[in-house]
């Protein structure tokens, strides 16, 4: 049992690869991770406490300036809102996908996955056309007589939330779909024959068993939303900056690397805390213990 669970690489003739060969196969991946992720992050954190001289001054500037704290809070709030909206909008789609068969299933899957094949920039640009003063949304509202003045949509926080939700929705739908698909049909049948209505079956059996998917989708969306750059930069208001824009400003305009690094440091601390809380409060292994 333990032997079967341990992961190994195998030759095509069934012999197990030696430790050295396994290492060589895994090395490129871990090398990339180390060079493009671990090293830069560590470097930034080092800069944030060592420059201009060993100090916590850079962090003090982040925490003490209410403007910077507001940017941080706005970023956390926007990411939370986008995550919540994605769950609400994504779950029904994932549920439908998991139930659909044949052509319909393929069609829904294509609708979910196809946007991922275009760049975030294209999708954000599309929204800026829709949100323009005389864009499709305002023209439609005025044509219907719902408003006489065009709304200010572009360069607002709402525009950012809407567009980010749209861009990130597939990352919510796919993990939930995966979790729902792994629930055997017989669970729903068993619940029904034991007397559960469709609603009770959903609430008592399907929903709890799909939670691991909801949580991993939420983590994906939330963490991506925290560092989102293009959409807030193109659709957001300069008065309502998000942290990625602030960091980029510090690096490219103010050239204050240590302060930018401290901002990243604070964000990293938040993210790490959240990840720990999630993994401690939700015991996925128990939820998914016995699907076979």
């Amino acid at each position: 049992m333990t032997e079967a669970r341990r992961s190994h690489f195998w030759h095509s003739d069934g012999r197990r690869l030696s430790g050295l060969s396994t290492l060589l196969l895994l090395l490129p991946f871990f090398a990339i991770i180390a060079f493009v992720f671990v090293y830069p992050i560590l470097q930034l954190l080092v800069i944030s406490i060592l420059e201009p001289h060993p100090t916590l001054e850079n962090y003090a500037r982040v925490v003490e300036n209410p403007v910077h704290m507001r940017v941080l809070m706005r970023t956390l709030w926007t990411a939370t809102l986008v995550t919540a909206l994605s769950v609400v909008l994504g779950f029904p789609v994932a549920y439908y996908m998991s139930r659909a068969k044949g052509t319909v299933a393929a069609l829904v899957a294509v609708c979910v996955i196809l946007p991922l094949w275009s760049s975030v920039l294209v999708r954000t640009a599309a929204w800026s056309f829709l949100f323009q003063r005389n864009g499709l949304i305002n023209s439609a509202l005025m044509a219907l007589g719902l408003t006489s003045q065009p709304f200010k949509l572009l360069y607002t926080q709402s525009a950012v939330v809407i567009a980010m939700t749209h861009v990130l929705l597939p990352f919510m739908i796919l993990p939930i779909y995966g979790a729902l698909r792994s629930i055997p049909d017989d669970y729903g049948r068993a619940a029904a024959v034991l007397g559960a209505t469709r609603l009770r079956t959903f609430l008592e059996v399907i929903l709890p068993l799909s939670l691991p998917g909801v949580v991993s989708g939420s983590l994906l969306v939330f963490l991506t939303a925290l560092g989102f750059f293009i959409t807030p930069a193109l659709l957001g208001s300069p008065q309502e900056m998000m942290i990625s824009t602030l960091v980029s400003k510090q690096i490219r305009e103010v050239l204050d690397w240590p302060f930018a690094a401290a901002l990243v440091g604070v964000l990293t601390v938040f993210v790490t805390l959240l990840a720990i809380i999630f993994s401690k409060t939700l015991r996925f292994d128990r939820l998914m213990g016995n699907a076979s």
């Binding site: 024959v193 008592e204 128990r286 213990g289």
Partner: protein, 371 residues
């Protein structure tokens, strides 16, 4: 509720399946099935995969609605009633315990759906666990139990609300042989204790023969034969059942004459006179027929009270309680014999020619030909 209805609710319900038909596109999964099941009866639906046995069970459970026909439980027409209002117990092949709930909550689940308070439903779930000899396992998780224990929990969950019908969809096929035999006894014991009506789907004929009061043999969505184990085994009503239940030797013959006796010509030219009762199906002179006989009915050596055949042995297999002799008749047809208490037969070797006596009353004659 008076005492009479209380005792009645603890015993089984009768089930009537009438002209049940289920089509998936052009395919008929179930094709005009009629089964009357008495209250408290244990019935097995037996057949190869694709025979429609599972579809029948799904229709009784309410997971599938039939294309036509009806299902009555007692006198109530439940054909189109949703599953959750049928009040049936069901055990699935893969246990289907909810992995996110404790064993106790799993067993209490149907009671929760019926609006019972926590204290009462937990007490009743504990009692149900005790009836499947798993008292004290309530706090565990399904994945902490063995397959056999999980299936016993599933059984407890299916009976805790005292349904009058218990449906079982190949409930033992995921278990290994010893556990399977334990569970067969367990299920029989519960059936006897509760008086519940059981419909048991299986593709394992020995399971069906040992457990069920009656067995319905299915093929291609149609019932081939329905009856008690002894009847199915001793006198299968058609060639399919004869070949499907147990081991059977078949010899193609030609019918010579039909009267008080039936005369048939064997492939090697011999003519046998069989009693008219040997003909399970009506046969006519000049037609092809199939003579069938169980391997354990053959007697070694030429004797009286039957016909004698000579078999060139090809294999001699020691199988514990009996010796299995495999050989060929003069025309090449394979013939198997199971001879009990076989220690004195060591002298036989492959290549030997042995004589067997086929008792007259062991011969069954069917119309048509095999293959």
């Amino acid at each position: 509720m008076n005492i009479a209805s209380a005792t009645q609710s603890a015993s089984g319900a009768s089930i009537r399946i009438s002209r049940l038909e289920k089509r998936f596109g052009a395919v008929s999964a179930v094709d005009g099935v009629d089964i009357d099941i008495a209250a408290g009866e244990f019935i097995a639906l037996l057949g190869p995969s694709g025979s429609g046995k599972t579809t029948i069970l799904m229709s009784v459970a309410g997971f599938e609605f039939p294309t036509s026909g009806s299902i009555h439980v007692d006198s109530e027409d439940v054909t189109y009633v949703p599953s959750n209002r049928r009040n049936l117990g069901m055990v699935f092949q893969n246990y289907t315990l909810f992995p996110h709930m404790s064993i106790l909550d799993n067993v209490a689940f149907p009671l929760k759906m019926r609006g019972l308070r926590a204290a009462e439903r937990h007490a009743r779930a504990e009692a149900a666990l005790a009836t499947v000899r798993l008292a004290g396992y309530g706090h565990r998780r399904p994945n902490e139990l063995s397959g056999g224990q999980q299936q016993r929990v599933a059984l407890a969950r299916a009976i805790v609300y005292q349904p009058r019908v218990l449906l079982m969809d190949e409930p033992l096929s995921a278990l290994d042989k010893n556990l399977r035999e334990d569970m067969q006894l367990e299920i029989k014991r519960l059936h006897a204790e509760l008086g519940i009506t059981v419909i048991f789907v299986t593709h394992d004929q020995s399971e069906a023969l040992t457990m069920a009061d009656r067995i319905a043999v299915l093929k291609d969505g149609k019932i081939q034969q329905i009856g008690p184990a002894r009847q199915l085994y001793e006198r299968p009503t058609n060639l399919f059942t004869a070949g499907f239940i147990g081991e059977m030797n078949f010899v193609g013959v030609t019918v010579e004459s039909v009267g008080d006796n039936v005369s048939v010509t064997l492939p090697w030219g011999e003519t046998w006179r069989l009693p008219a009762t040997a003909a399970v199906e009506p046969v006519a002179a000049g037609e092809a027929a199939v003579l069938a006989v169980r391997p354990e009915r053959l007697q070694l050596g030429a004797g009286s009270g039957g016909q004698v055949i000579t078999v060139t042995l090809s294999d001699i297999v020691y199988a514990g309680a009996a010796l299995l002799l495999i050989g060929r008749l003069p025309d090449g047809t394979e013939m198997r014999a199971r001879i009990p208490g076989a220690s004195q037969l060591c002298a036989l070797a492959p290549g030997d020619v042995a004589s067997f006596t086929v008792p007259v009353e062991a011969m069954l004659l069917y119309r048509g030909s095999r293959r």
